[in-house]
């Protein structure tokens, strides 16, 4: 006989396990919350715990961790039972201290086999298999101890003591250990009691000469320049001039020098004639001619040099001749280079503005991980100042440890997730190497994506939990019915539970289908009118049946208003609200449904109750799928957790909104606000009704 604690908030599953465990000969203790489980364990230490992961309040995981951290419960065998079938969940469960892990839906036979296996490993004495040590044989099932054929007569305590010794052979146990393990740690008795029982055990064993088998031991995370300088002078206009070879210029220069010399010489000769010094005067005249040419050249050369030394923004000196040509050629080459540079700059500016326009943050780092350039998105993500923070080592300003670690790695391709500078968004950062030791840091805001992922994961986890739980019960009971000889009473109970669970699954699948349909179907028609009175009539019938006389349910006596929209959607929204009101209102409470038109012409259907109400902090999240106010998964009220989502969807599709007012303990008021465009009043309402009939 071993004591098994079942911690499960789903009453049907708990009962399924209880029936099977009892038939397998275990004593079953049940707890539906973590607090109850803690109390149970504090009172009497069970031999094994079957623990559900999702519990109201503290999770099963936290509970397992807690038990593992305390010396008294460190050895307590725990089997985790959960709808979470993902590998990381299994790992988390086993790491938290579970000895075994079973996912729902599970087979009851498998569960029993796993319980046996864990007991065999962790608490062999809690198992009902016969033990043999030496010649001595102990059978817990028949409670017999024998050597060969000779039977030994033992008292119950001595029997347990011997069973413990035989399942833990070759070991030394202290008195307090024996007390805890054999008597149970909930029993407070004097340590010396152990001595008495050991002595009695020895005495009982001495007739079969096994007393000697018991031994007593005594004494251990740049701007560009648009100055494409409007050329004051375009050398190209000039370049249309005749292209002349440098050689022709040399020749003409030589010719001009020779001409100046000849002219000077002839002038000298002619003017020197009267003073009889023609020859000397001719030489002097030639020299003056050459000198003048040189002087002119020197002046031109000087001007060119001055221009070259200057900023070259003005046009080069437009001299004829040799120096002019040099000036022109130099200027042309300078201008063409300037144009090239300007084009490069323009391209760079376009390139940078393209990078600037990127929706992702881009950060360029130099070889020392200093910030070289960043776009405004990156500046925003990392809190940088693009001008001021240039050449600042990036890790001085982007200090998130994940980013710093990734930057220190020689090469990474994996994205790191880092909170942004304000700590409100999540950034995905990728670092890529380019050029020589240069690096590119790309950052992307993935907050929305992360949030959507989390919502999807939650939804999948919830759906699997909600569907698997009833499935587990139905499948488990089928197995139980086919393998255990149940009494008639038990059989009826089991069939009733199966029926309930099948019904629950049907409701849930129905609700899920309605939601899927709402998301996928076209918007409700605006030309078909649904009389409110009809909706009220149908949902009243439902509510009265659900309440079965425990509440006062009041609907408006007469209602001439009609609503343009989809009848079945509106009915399901109203029914959901009314049924919720009935469910969450204690016996004797009041549920009041009312209709009124507001001043702006919009209509309001309100469902008010005097029920348990909701705390203010939960109101914004009430319409989330599977959101439960008490965090508990208990199905006392029979809801699927999808009702309000459906209501919200329906109202939004009709262009309206759902208003929730509630106070804990005083009751709630859920109002469907429908836009004026969809509300038809009494007079034209009748025509609308006829119209509807004719359309139908």
């Amino acid at each position: 006989m071993s004591r098994v604690l079942v911690v499960e908030d789903e009453p049907a599953i708990a009962e399924l396990m209880a029936i099977n465990l009892r038939h397998a000969g275990h004593e079953v203790v049940m707890a539906s919350t973590a607090e109850q489980a803690l109390l149970q364990v504090d009172q009497v230490l069970p031999d094994l715990v079957v623990l559900d992961w999702m519990l109201p309040g503290q999770s099963g995981l936290a509970l397992a961790k807690r038990w593992r951290s305390q010396s008294r419960t460190r050895e307590l065998p725990i089997i985790m039972l959960t709808a979470r079938a993902e590998e990381p969940d299994k790992i988390a469960g086993l790491d938290a201290g579970a000895d075994d892990y079973l996912t729902k839906p599970f087979s009851t036979n498998e569960l029993m086999a796993r319980i046996r296996a864990v007991l065999r490993r962790k608490a062999p004495d809690a198992l009902d298999s016969a033990v043999e040590v030496g010649m001595l044989r102990l059978d817990p099932a028949t409670r017999r101890v024998s050597r060969d054929t000779q039977e030994v007569r033992l008292g119950p305590t001595e029997f347990r003591l011997l069973h413990f010794f035989m399942t833990h052979p070759e070991r030394v146990h202290s008195r307090s250990q024996l007390l805890d393990r054999v008597w149970g740690d909930h029993v407070f008795i004097e340590e010396r009691t152990v001595d008495v029982h050991v002595k009695r055990l020895r005495e009982a064993l001495s007739p079969v000469s096994c007393a000697g088998m018991i031994e007593t031991v005594r004494g251990p995370a740049t701007a560009s320049h648009t100055s494409s300088s409007p050329w004051r002078h375009d050398p190209d206009a000039h370049a249309v001039e005749v292209e002349r070879s440098a050689m022709s210029w040399l020749f003409s220069r030589f010719l001009a020098g020779a001409l100046a010399m000849v002219v000077g010489a002839s002038l000298g000769y002619w003017s020197g004639g009267p003073v009889h010094a023609s020859l000397i005067a001719a030489v002097l005249g030639g020299a003056v001619g050459v000198g003048t040419i040189s002087a002119i050249d020197t002046v031109r050369g000087y001007r060119l040099i001055r221009w070259l030394a200057g900023s070259q923004e003005d046009a080069a000196p437009r001299d004829t001749g040799f120096w002019g040509e040099i000036g022109y050629r130099v200027e042309r080459s300078i201008r063409s280079r300037e144009r090239g540079t300007a084009q490069e700059r323009l391209r760079l500016a376009q390139f940078l503005s393209a990078m600037e326009a990127s929706p992702n943050g881009i950060l360029l780092l130099d070889a020392n991980d200093q910030i070289h350039w960043c776009n405004s998105v990156a500046a925003d993500h990392f809190g940088l100042d693009p001008e001021r923070d240039r050449m600042q080592p990036v890790t001085n300003l982007v200090r998130a440890p994940g980013f710093v670690a990734a930057l220190h790695l020689p090469s990474t391709t994996e994205a790191v997730l880092v909170p942004d500078v304000r700590g409100r968004c999540t950034l995905s950062i990728v670092i890529r190497a380019y050029g020589e030791g240069l690096r590119l840091v790309l950052s992307q805001d993935v907050t929305q994506r992360e949030r959507a992922d989390a919502m999807r994961r939650d939804f999948v986890a919830n759906v699997s939990h909600e569907i698997r739980s009833p499935l587990t019960v139905v499948a488990g009971f089928i197995e139980t019915l086919s393998s255990l000889p149940l009494s008639e009473v038990e059989r009826k109970r089991v069939l009733m539970l199966m029926g309930q669970q099948a019904q629950r699954m049907q409701t849930l699948v129905g609700d899920l289908l309605i939601l899927a349909q709402l998301e996928g179907s076209p918007l409700p028609p605006s030309d078909r009118c649904v009389p409110l009175a009809k909706l009220f009539g149908q949902s009243k019938a439902d509510a009265v049946a659900l309440s079965s006389g425990r509440h006062t349910v009041r609907f408006p006596e007469e209602c001439a208003a009609q609503i343009a929209g989809n009848e079945s959607e509106l009915l399901s929204a109203l029914t959901n609200l009314v049924n919720n009101a009935v469910r969450y209102t204690p016996e004797g409470g009041r549920v009041t449904v009312s209709w009124r038109t507001r001043d702006d012409g919009s209509g309001e259907v309100s469902v008010a109750d005097t029920g348990i109400g909701v705390d203010r902090e939960h109101i914004p999240r009430l319409t989330e799928r599977f959101y439960r106010v008490d965090g508990s998964r208990s199905r006392d009220t029979g809801g699927t957790g999808l009702g309000l989502s459906i209501v919200k969807h329906v109202v939004q599709r009709h262009g309206g909104e759902l208003e929730i007012q509630s106070e804990a303990g005083k009751g709630s008021r859920f109002s469907l606000i429908l836009p004026a465009a969809r509300v038809r009043m009494a007079g034209p309402g009748v025509a609308g009704a006829n119209e509807q009939r004719s359309v139908a």
Partner: protein, 235 residues
Amino acid sequence: MTDKHLSTQFDSELSGISTRVLEMGGLVESQVAQAVYALTNFSADIASDVLRHEDRVNTMEIEIDRDLSTIIARRQPTARDLRLLIAISKTIANLERVGDEAARIARTVQRLIDAGVSSRLRLPVNDLAHEAELAVAQLRKALDAFARLDTQKAVEVLKQDDQIDREFDGLLRKLITYMMEDPRTISTSIDLVFVAKAIERVGDHAKNLAEVIIYIVKGTDVRHNTVAAVESMVK
């Protein structure tokens, strides 16, 4: 840090050590943010992550301290360089303490979880989260000012410190009302008072850091002066 020395080796040593100080600052920043996240979400895993990284903060402090004495011994710096090194020594001591405060918060979270306090209990953790947000923002601003040697930002940090103090006082009053309403919340509330105090201390350390920045740039010790006096000194 921008003035050139004859020895570029010395320059790179100085900028290297500043970078490591800021890296340590980044680690400490995230430690505080994580610890508070663990508190608001009742996550034992994140709390133990914080405690695990605590060692890294301590190791970094010791390493930077050792490098500091090596640089002082070998280079015998004067004037601004000497002020920078002295300031770094003070900064890392402050940062290490911020790390300790983060660890203290994480340990409290673990204790609360172990004691079976579930997230369902109504606790003003959101007010704590707000106080922590202010403190982390202050710390971040101080570290940014350190990286840019920006005295204006440093003065801003000094100015905003009493915002955190006010937040702390408000929280204390709130917790007292909780304790008076329901005596069962007393032990948890006392834990939260210590957390709030730890967060308030983070703000104070950010303030110390800001004073050190003014010391590096201006060479004046502005500790124990009113904010108005410091502002006029910086101008």
